[in-house]
């Protein structure tokens, strides 16, 4: 069974259609990259999967269960995690606190109003493990807003991984990064376990082709093409409207 099946998904704002009859499937473990020019509806698509935006019509099935229009917190607890295009952290909290909040919903007791969080050693251990996984070990006490831009994006991914999701949605994880930071991010994404399915929006073609198993091209809300990286590279229409512009 596919981890995600999107069928005939449609979202409009008045006469503007940002998602137009989109059909898309992601197999377990697949790394699926969505590309397309600005305004193609990529973020709107991720927002509908994550629950931040309700679709106008259509179906979004997570392992066969329709999640279209559910609230973000329910979708999250069903195993879908996401990062945001703009840094979306708890900027005034420390790295460890950011991760602990993300872990607590599944592995802690968020309703505990009596014991200090520092007493939960298991949770702290998990947070340290996440810090290692996203290459932030030793940075636990730093405030999120004092991290470098690249480190903040790493923390974003750490927060997303905290709930041990089955499907991870990454919205332009390398945008605004330096080449060195981008290389580290590709490494980080490459090191994610294969049990995790991935859907990623990306502009940087180096990242796209080093990560993707499959690529979907969006153009004005519609799917222009979908296939393996080599198929997409060979597709004339894609070259015309998208790759042609990028090169």
């Amino acid at each position: 069974m596919n981890i995600l099946d999107i069928e005939r998904l449609r979202r409009s704002f008045g006469s503007l259609v940002v998602t137009d009859d989109v059909n898309l499937s992601i197999a377990p473990g697949e790394r699926h990259v969505v590309i397309g020019p600005n305004g193609a509806g990529k973020t709107s698509l991720i927002n509908q999967i994550g629950g931040q935006l309700a679709p106008t019509s259509g179906r979004i099935a997570l392992r066969g269960r329709d999640i279209a229009g559910l609230s973000p917190n329910r979708i999250s607890r069903m195993g879908v995690a996401r990062t945001f295009q703009r840094n979306n952290l708890f900027h005034n909290l420390s790295v460890i606190e950011n991760l602990r909040l993300a872990l607590s919903v599944k592995f802690g007791n968020p309703l505990d109003c009596f014991r200090s969080t520092d007493g939960d050693v298991a949770l702290l251990e998990r947070a340290r493990g996440l810090m290692r996984q996203v290459h932030l070990d030793g940075d636990g006490a730093r405030l999120a807003r004092n991290l470098s831009y690249g480190e903040q994006r790493q923390l974003e991914i750490g927060i997303a991984l905290a709930g041990e999701p089955e499907l991870l949605l990454l919205d332009e994880p390398t945008s605004g990064m330096s080449p060195a930071e981008t290389t580290r991010m590709i490494e980080l994404i490459g090191s994610l376990p294969r049990s995790l399915s991935l859907m990623m929006i990306e502009h940087d073609m180096q990242v796209v082709f080093s990560v993707a198993d499959r690529i979907t091209v969006l153009y004005y809300g519609k799917i222009l093409a979908s296939g393996s990286p080599s198929e997409i590279q060979a597709n004339d229409r894609v070259r015309e409207v998208y790759l042609g512009m990028a090169h």
Binding site: G50, G51, Q52, S71, P72, N73, R74, S76, R77, A81, R82, F84, N88, L89, F90, H91, N92, L93, E97, R100, L101, A102, S104, V105, K106, G108, N109, P110, L111, D112, C113, F114, R115, S116, T117, D118, D120, I159, A162, G163
Partner: protein, 613 residues
């Protein structure tokens, strides 16, 4: 029939006065995203300046024309000198700033013009009455209706037909966009603020011959004007007009035919509109997700040094009463009670990021539970206290259920509406609550066999509750639940994406805060031996907001400091200077402008160089 028409005309008159208030309030909100709590003060000042002009010149018409001029000057000065520097910091600070000015203006008015109700003379030309169809009506009232409609049409023409109007409309839609189109936004803001307060001042003069002038009329006219812009739609002139006439007529008819239910029905109408159409009848839907709150403090976990400091403070508090006489002992007891109240608000405001302007309602639940159960049913005050805490928690659950759907200014307005609903019940349900006359408790309960009539016993009783509440809240803040609250304050969207049902947690924060406020209210009833509806009025919610912000929201130590400073000012400064209201207002304005972290936040910043906050 004649009576009906007369009521309708009275309704229209009240509606027109509300419109003069609401039009400015609404435009200012639509353009600047600021709810000016000082708008009623400009209405009041307008009326009194008009009074002085009438005394000097004998002409009502001169007053009507000239009184708005000093009001405009004042408004422009406030906008340029005080509000403009805060644009970058978000509109909540500006709301707080305007609240600081209400204290100064109130004091100014009662100092210059006295505390008695005064009436502007009706202009000679309009002293008679006019026969129209079914009856005889006051000429001045008819004039007022015409005047109001003329102003409304004039405003509409300016907004719809002129270049400035187009800029204002564009600014209401999207300030950044309007700036891009070449509008001078700061000048536009100043202009609209000045224009808005001029209308309010004009309203004050026009109201003078009808409703009279007195210090405190500012708070009284502000609330119905709020209701108008909530119902009509914030930022919409049409909404302000329709809303004003609706509320004006509904209020007049309600008072004539439903008596005590009228007040209740109007608050209910506002609540229903906010829930079904948060943007109001004619309002544009606006997003208010990026609330940049002034509060960023984080609880610092207890270290050995902090614990030691805590023990020293406790030791001082334990020894202190033996060096004090009865009166200061009672004052410190009162501070302990209000410290609990302020800490409870801080759980919402500082830790969860929800600015409530209706927290006095829960204080009221607690206080009335003790007083009503005690006097009507002879229930022991301590059982009443438990009942009060439960009642406050239950009330908070019910009110919170509706409020936590909103955020930012709409949240503030809805908490205000609900608390005024509770206030109107306390005011009008006289058989039980005693209304504004209040209820006195027959006797103070005993505390472990000791009489609370003794100030020393009262001191230690309130100290015990304060320390317990402080420790309980400190544990909560340092536990998982407290961290979730802070997470919601920092970034609610992220909390949702992580999987937290944030509404449930916000409701939980609301209920816990309500319960502690109820505890404070119950203790206050025991301490004071008397409770009246005044303790629930919206200005009481404002006072506790000031205490919390003054001491430092987002910390647990700040609110008790704020409560102490505020009550010391109120009781000590008032015995040395009549102008303690001005002093409090100035201190609060300075705090908002220069020390946004409050007293404790500033101390922390100095000690840790800002690294902690």
């Amino acid at each position: 029939m004649e009576l009906l028409v007369a009521q309708l005309l009275n309704g229209l008159v009240y509606g027109v006065l509300l419109f003069l208030m609401a039009a400015g309030l609404s435009l200012i909100f639509g353009l600047m995203n600021v709810v000016s709590l000082a708008h009623g003060s400009f209405f009041m000042l307008g009326g009194f300046i008009g009074l002085s002009i009438v005394h000097l010149t004998g002409s009502f018409w001169l007053a009507l024309i000239l009184a708005p001029i000093p009001i405009v000057v004042l408004g422009v000065l406030i906008e340029v000198l005080f509000m403009r520097p805060l644009y970058a910091r978000g509109h909540m600070d500006q709301v707080l700033l305007t609240f600081g000015f209400t204290f100064i203006f109130y004091d100014l008015v009662q100092t210059v013009w006295g505390r008695l109700v005064q009436r502007l003379p009706t202009p000679e030309a309009l002293q008679g009455s006019v026969q129209i169809g079914v009856g005889v009506f006051s000429a001045y009232r008819l004039f007022l209706i015409g005047f109001g409609f003329a102003i409304a049409i004039l405003l509409w023409l300016v907004l719809e037909r002129s270049r400035v109007g187009a800029m204002v409309r564009a600014g209401v839609d999207n300030a950044a966009m309007a700036a891009g189109l070449g509008g001078n936004i700061p000048l536009l803001f100043t202009g609209i603020f000045g224009f808005g307060v001029a209308l309010a001042g004009l309203g004050g003069v026009a109201a003078g011959p009808i409703i009279g002038l007195y210090p405190g009329m500012d708070a009284e006219i502000l609330i119905p004007a709020f209701i108008v812009i909530v119902i009509g739609g914030m930022g919409s002139l049409r909404g302000a007009f329709v809303g004003s006439l609706l509320i004006g007529i509904a209020d007049t008819f309600g008072k004539a035919y439903l008596q005590s239910l009228a007040l209740f029905l109007i608050y209910l109408a506002m609540t229903v509109v906010l829930l079904i159409r948060p943007q109001g009848l004619f309002g544009i839907k606006y997003s208010d997700v990026s609330i940049t709150s002034a509060v960023t403090g984080t609880a610092v976990p207890a270290t050995a040094r902090r614990r030691l400091a805590g023990f020293i403070v406790l030791a001082v508090l334990l020894i202190l009463p033996f060096f004090l006489t009865d009166y200061p002992r009672a004052l410190v007891s009162e501070i302990f009670i209000f410290a609990i109240f302020a800490m409870s608000l801080d759980l919402l405001l500082g830790f969860t990021g929800l600015m409530s302007l209706g927290h006095a309602a829960f204080f009221g639940f607690g206080a009335y539970a003790v007083a009503v159960l005690g006097t009507l049913f002879g229930v022991d005050a301590w059982i009443g206290l438990v009942a009060g805490v439960l009642l406050a928690a239950g009330g908070a659950a019910l009110i919170g259920f509706f409020c936590v759907r909103l955020a930012g200014i709409p949240f503030l307005m809805l908490t205000l509406a609900f608390s005024q609903l509770v206030f109107s019940v306390a005011l009008k349900w006289r058989d039980v609550t005693g209304g504004s006359d209040g209820i006195a408790l027959a006797e103070k309960p005993s505390f472990f066999g000791l009489s609370l009539d003794h100030s020393l016993v009262m001191y230690f009783m309130t100290l015990l509750f304060f320390v317990s509440a402080f420790l309980a809240l400190q544990r909560l803040i340092n536990a998982s639940l407290g961290h979730v609250f802070v997470g919601i304050r920092e970034n609610e969207q992220r909390m949702l994406a992580i999987g937290y049902p944030t509404r449930v947690y916000k409701l939980l924060a609301f209920v816990i805060a309500g319960a502690f406020a109820g505890l404070a209210g119950g203790l206050y009833a025991i301490f004071n031996g008397f409770i009246s509806s005044d303790a629930l009025y919206w200005t009481a919610s404002g006072d506790i907001l000031i205490m919390t912000m003054l001491g430092g929201a987002g910390t647990l130590i700040g609110p008790p400091i704020g409560a102490a400073v505020f009550l010391l000012m109120k009781n000590v400064a008032s015995s040395y200077s009549e102008h303690w209201l001005t002093i409090i207002g100035v201190i609060f304005i300075c705090c908002v402008m220069f020390f946004p972290g409050g007293i404790w936040g500033t101390v922390q910043k100095l000690r840790w160089g800002g690294a902690r906050s």
